[in-house]
């Protein structure tokens, strides 16, 4: 992992490295969010996940989320790393760290970041279930779409 605040990586995510990126003397709080691979989704068993990204645009969109957060919570600093490739159960898919002088902004900005990731960052998850495989295509995360009938959501 590099010093870039916004990254797409193929290797396992080290949360401490992301915390380090946002550490500052003026910070009184650092919140972290760690998104992990879940085994069971509504009774279906996941064996492993595969994430694909349009990497250059995904990095740009992560940076855009950083800019949005800079406007909404001016004293925060955020780092986001998303992993792609094959991930096994319990592995970290995404990690977000936000530092801020006071905790409220750090909590709020962190939640905002994960919601925006699910809206505008070109990353796709393929579920490899115990009984088949599906590209997941709904920004609310859990609803697979049949090929040819994805939902269109506005990103602007």
């Amino acid at each position: 992992m590099s010093n870039n605040l916004f990254e797409i990586v193929e290797e396992p995510i080290e949360i401490n490295a992301i915390i380090k990126k946002v550490e500052r003397r003026e910070a009184g709080a650092i919140t972290t969010f760690i998104g992990t691979v879940r085994e069971w989704t509504r009774g279906k068993q996941t064996i492993y996940l595969e994430y694909q990204a349009y990497i250059p645009m995904a990095v740009k969109m992560l940076a855009k989320i950083g800019e949005e957060i800079g406007e909404k919570w001016p004293d925060t600093k955020i780092g986001i790393t998303h992993r792609i490739g094959r991930l096994d159960i319990s592995e970290i898919a995404v990690a977000i760290a936000v530092s801020s002088p006071h905790r409220k902004a750090a909590y709020e900005a962190n939640e905002y970041a994960i919601e925006r990731i699910k809206q505008i960052v070109p990353i796709w998850k393929k579920e490899h279930w115990s009984d088949g495989e599906t590209w997941i295509g709904d920004q609310l995360e859990n609803v697979p779409y049949e090929s040819g009938r994805p939902n269109v959501k506005d990103v602007e």
Partner: protein, 78 residues
Amino acid sequence: MMITILLFAHLQETVGKDRIELPIEQLTVMELKTALKQTYPLLELDHVMTAVNEEFARDNSKVTAGDIVAFIPPVSGG
């Protein structure tokens, strides 16, 4: 000069490749979708977002030779 089209997720699997190059000088996103649908089984192009040179674009946005167009199915990161 070519227009480069990038495909991801199920679009990539439907077509069997992750990029298509077309020798076209200029057209709109909508015209490009129409052209692709004539060659490939990509009816879902009507339901995906489009990025031109890594920025989200509209159906009436212009695409020019040298541009990189990516079709972005609903995303599922996180």
